[in-house]
Amino acid sequence: MIINHPLLGPRDSQEFTYLGDASLIDRPDWQAENAVDQFHDYLYLRDNPAGSHRELWFHETGDRSWLVVTRDTTTHEITAVELARDVARARGRSK
């Protein structure tokens, strides 16, 4: 596969390490009332779609960016690649 890195252009997927669903960005609030339940859902449950999937790839042998790649799990077609940092900020993550 080829991942079109937003900063570096097309790179072979062998340069990357895969983590999983980009929802791992949405880490719950540790002080919430039902924090354990929220963390359970966050860490263990997946939509696991057959179709468009937003997922985290790490450019391990490259520039060490975490990327959010939108890829179809039935065809492997990639339709978007974003820096995870930008996605995280857009979802309200800060410090």
Partner: protein
């Protein structure tokens, strides 16, 4: 021996002769021959035996789809089983043997299976061999295994080398027949980067095997002229002997170039084959078509082959399978074989065509409305039985029969991403669907455009269309006029009414009867049919057999062929040598070797090295007279605990953490508190995964307010760094923190033992106070050594002794260890390896990889209270779950055998005295064990249920696997200096 079936002409160089052997017999052929064509020219028809019935077989095809003529090529370590004689290029001295026969090809004892074929029908083995149960492995299966298989591996290491490479292009053209060449010409002239690949050793594809003219010229002249132009274009790469094996995601294709297979041995420095990863923006499949046979009784005898193959042997290789032949065809193309053979002077006895209105094309007898019903000739065809249009029978003597049931577009690569071909009733064949790999289009016969004219024009137009998508304008090229004969065919799959066997899959011996039986037993879907009968599962993957099986199943099921469906072709297009896929990553080169800066020094000391991941680490340093590893390790341990030792710990992961939020960041990734760590201090850190399980541990030093240096275990260096970047970029993107792995930037050594300070004081520059008061336990500082060399000093201890770790820039590592050893001579300093390191950490009760096994919690490690509840650290929330906080949770404790001469076995399990030894009574297990030269006893550490409250209890340590059982006392894991006085001294 004379080449009795050699004709005139062809693309062989008769000015030179090549000598080769088949089953020990010497023959001669010429450059340009394949093994099959040369054998054929020498009058050899029998080349192999079938898989199941061991039927005598000759060639069926003239290409890589050959199911029958498989041989063992070469000898010794280069022996290569299952090589298609039809693609093996002849070279002088070639040696080949027939396979899957005993004792000889002509007399094969296993052919007895053929006599019992009525018992050995599809799937018979599922119905028997069940009693008694133990007989399967002992009796039935060994016999079956020995009889099965095809050729043999030598079992010697493959002596050849293989390479891998990357190529990039705008357009990859797969196949260099008329459509591929027209495409290459179109794309090449446009300036696009083009790769043209063909599996054959001559470009031209089917043009090499036909007698067509292109325009005014013979086809060969046009091919040569076109190639000359393509070879002169710098943007075009023509790759011969290169099979494109598969279409993978995003336009990446795999290809195997057979660099040296046509030579006796590879030239010096040259690989046997190269695996190319071709990154193509567009791919054009010009793979042509594959002819399909017709099934009739005993249609598998040597001499019976596809009509197109027969034509290829005669035209390209000037070899005829026999002096007298016949042709059996349901389509006009088959008649060409008769025409071409007659033109070459071969006697064509008759053309048999089941179509009543078959055209008269060749100057020989035409039997229209007739069909071949049976054949005879045990080791080679002698007679065919023909049922004429009026129902009468006729026997025709012939040594070969060309058969054509039509042609199947070679859609293979269009299915590699699970695309489904679609049925084209006009040619009674499957053509590529529109769901093939993205960026891949098809031209020529592979797309069902069978005439040469159509191949040329679609090749050119598809190439132009592909380039247009890339914004490259391609001008139309001038293509020669070529034959444009329409396909004229009446589907005819098998001859009905016979009682004998009619073969579909010749290699796996699947007959029409087997398909009928599969239908009768409800194995009716394509997948069931294939798996139950093994149809299409042979080395040719059904290229010549699948269609016949499908057609018969369709007929039996009362469905159309497309309703029955088609199996999906998978990569590789043709089988690929494992060596090519392995490349140079074998032997010592399987993985890269990482050596520390003092590796050379350690080698000079005679160190024994051990692989830890890709690193090589000194395991121990044997001294003269030490004959056993334990002697060296015991000496090293005693020397460290008695005076001082030096150990290379460079392999530990080192991560620089800088930024105004660095402390806050560490507080997030470590379970224990880090925010308030003072500058100049080091702290042990336990890192949890989000699920509350220990991920890694190590020490982190604060060199400045905004600068920390983290160490990780050797094994987890990469994973921890990745995790930290995840936490930073994905969870806390606005934290001001920068991370960089500095594992390779620093050489680091542990200096341990009561004299370690004295030793270091000799090299640390005098302005730095490293006295116990000036540089206390867990202190850290940036210093200089040896008169100005910058270094980092950490007062940390893995051994439990007074100890330091000192780091210098990598390039000074070698010099530093030499200086330490010289300076330490007065203290009898020793170099110690990972074994002594391991012994001392077990004596001290420090957890390492064996304890941090991915299932242990902070609580298990005795660090439950370290997990701060006052902050949001990774893993802290899910640490609260019930299962991670059981009352009887495993706890890390020490074990000492009651009999000091007994051995504690790592991996042994703990049982209470007097209970049965089984899983339900398991109390825990020993993770690490060693002989302690300090305690003069074998000791171990491990996990015990509720271990913290069981000190002093006696347990049985059982290891039924190694046949040992000892009684051990539960003790503190801190065998040596439990209060830590030494490391604070």
């Amino acid at each position: 021996m004379s080449q009795i079936n050699r004709l005139n002409g062809g693309q062989i160089d008769t000015s030179r002769s090549l000598t080769f052997r088949f089953d020990g017999t010497r023959y001669q052929g010429h450059p340009g021959d394949t093994l099959a064509s040369a054998l054929m020219a020498n009058g050899v028809r029998l080349m192999g035996r079938s898989f199941k019935y061991h039927r005598p077989r000759g060639v069926l095809t003239s290409g890589s789809e050959e199911p029958n003529a498989l041989v063992e090529l070469r000898s010794g370590a280069r022996q290569e089983p299952n090589t298609r004689a039809t693609t093996a290029e002849l070279f002088d001295g070639l040696e080949a043997r027939s396979q899957n026969r005993f004792p000889s090809l002509k007399f094969d004892a296993m052919a007895i299976n053929d006599r019992f074929s009525n018992f050995l029908t599809a799937g018979f083995y599922y119905k028997t061999f069940m009693w008694p149960a133990a007989f399967w492995e002992k009796l039935y299966e060994p016999i079956i295994r020995k009889a099965a298989g095809l050729g043999s591996l030598s079992l010697q290491d493959d002596p050849d080398e293989y390479d891998k490479g990357f190529l990039h292009c705008d357009l990859l053209i797969v196949g260099a027949g008329p459509s591929g060449l027209a495409a290459a010409l179109t794309a090449g002239r446009s300036g696009a980067r083009v790769i043209l690949a063909d599996e054959d050793f001559a470009f031209g594809g089917r043009l090499n095997s036909e007698t067509f003219s292109l325009g005014e010229d013979a086809a060969a002249e046009w091919v040569a002229r076109t190639l000359a132009e393509l070879n002169a274009l710098p943007n075009v790469r023509c790759m011969i002997r290169t099979t494109v094996i598969g279409a993978f995601d995003h336009g990446i294709c795999g290809a195997v170039e057979r660099v040296s297979d046509h030579l006796p041995v590879p030239a010096p420095g040259k690989p046997r084959q190269i695996l190319w990863r071709i990154y193509a923006k567009r791919t054009l499949l010009c793979a042509g078509a594959i002819e399909r046979p017709i099934a009739f009784e005993n249609n598998d005898r040597p001499g019976i082959m596809l009509a197109g193959a027969m034509r290829a042997y005669v035209n390209r290789w000037a070899a005829t399978p026999a002096q007298k032949v016949a042709v059996f065809t349901n389509n006009d193309d088959g008649h060409r074989t008769a025409v071409d053979l007659i033109a070459k002077g071969v006697n064509v006895a008759a053309v048999i065509d089941p179509r009543p209105d078959a055209p008269r094309v060749a100057d020989c007898e035409l039997l229209a409305g007739a069909q071949v019903t049976d054949t005879s000739g045990r080791l080679g065809l002698k007679f065919i039985e023909v049922q004429l249009a009026d129902g009468s029978e006729r026997t025709i003597e012939c040594g070969a029969l060309g058969v054509s049931g039509g042609w199947n577009p070679n859609v293979h690569m269009t299915c590699h991403q699970r695309g489904r071909p679609v049925w084209d009733a006009g040619i009674a064949a499957f053509v590529p669907g529109d769901d093939g790999p993205a960026g891949l289009t098809v031209a020529g016969a592979a797309d069902g455009a069978f005439s040469t004219h159509a191949a040329l024009t679609t090749g050119a137009s598809q190439a132009a269309a592909s380039l247009e998508q890339l914004g490259i304008a391609a001008k139309p090229v001038d293509l020669p006029a070529a034959e444009d004969t329409p396909v004229n065919l009446k589907p005819f799959w098998y001859v009905k009414g016979g009682k004998g066997r009619a073969w579909l899959d010749q290699q796996n011996d699947v007959t029409v009867k087997d398909v009928k039986l599969a239908h009768q037993e409800n194995f009716r879907s394509v997948e069931h049919l294939k798996r139950y009968t093994t149809l299409g599962m042979a080395t040719d993957q059904g290229k010549t057999s699948n269609m016949g099986g499908l057609a018969i199943m369709a007929e039996l099921a009362g469905k159309s062929i497309p309703e029955v469906g088609t199996t999906i072709f998978r990569p590789p297009y043709t089988p690929v040598a494992m060596g090519a896929l392995g490349g140079r990553s074998r032997g010592k080169h399987f993985h890269p070797v990482r050596e520390t800066p003092s590796h050379k020094w350690a080698t000079e000391q005679g160190a024994v090295f051990v692989e830890t991941g890709n690193w090589l680490r000194a395991q121990w340093f044997p001294k003269p007279g030490e004959t056993e590893w334990r002697q060296s390790v015991d000496r090293e341990v005693r020397a460290v605990r008695g005076s001082v030792g030096v150990c290379d710990v460079t392999t530990l992961g080192k991560i620089d953490v800088q930024g105004t939020d660095a402390a806050q960041f560490l507080n997030k990734v470590y379970a224990n508190a880090f925010a308030k760590l003072a500058v100049g201090k080091t702290r042990y850190g336990l890192m949890l995964r989000e699920d509350g399980i220990a991920m890694d541990d190590g020490t982190t030093a604060r060199l400045a307010e905004d600068h920390f240096v983290m160490t990780t275990t050797t094994a987890n260096a990469v994973g921890v760094y990745r995790h930290l970047e995840f936490v930073h970029q994905c969870l806390c993107p606005d934290m001001d923190v920068q991370l960089i792995s500095t594992t390779e930037a620093w050489a680091q050594y542990a200096v341990a033992g009561p004299n370690s300070r004295k030793l270091l004081q000799k090299i640390v520059d005098p302005e730095f106070d490293i006295s116990n008061e000036g540089f206390e336990f867990m202190a850290c500082r940036e210093i200089t050594v040896c008169g100005g060399l910058r270094a980092r000093l950490f007062r940390i201890s893995f051994s439990g002794e007074l100890a330091y770790e000192i780091a210098v820039p990598t390039r000074y590592g070698d010099a530093l260890i030499r200086r330490l050893m010289t300076a330490g001579a007065e203290f009898d300093v020793v170099a110690y390896g990972t074994e002594a390191l391991g012994v001392m950490r077990i004596e001290k009760g420090h957890a390492a990889g064996n304890e941090l096994n991915g299932t242990t919690t902070a609580l298990n490690l005795g660090m439950g209270r370290m997990v701060s509840k006052k902050k949001d650290a990774i893993g802290s929330t899910l640490s609260e779950r019930e299962g991670l906080n059981r009352d009887d949770a495993l706890a890390l404790v020490g074990f000492k055998p009651q009999d000091s001469s007994a051995k504690v076995t790592a991996g042994g399990h703990l049982m209470e005295l007097g209970t049965p030894v089984d899983a339900s009574h398991n109390q825990g297990y020993v993770t690490s064990a060693c002989y302690s030269p300090i305690l003069n006893s074998s000791i171990g550490i491990g996990f015990l249920k509720d271990g913290a409250n069981r000190m002093g209890e006696t347990l049985r340590l059982v290891s039924p696997l190694t046949g040992s059982e000892v009684q051990v006392d539960v003790v503190s894991a801190h065998f040596v200096d439990p209060k830590g006085d030494r490391l604070r001294a």
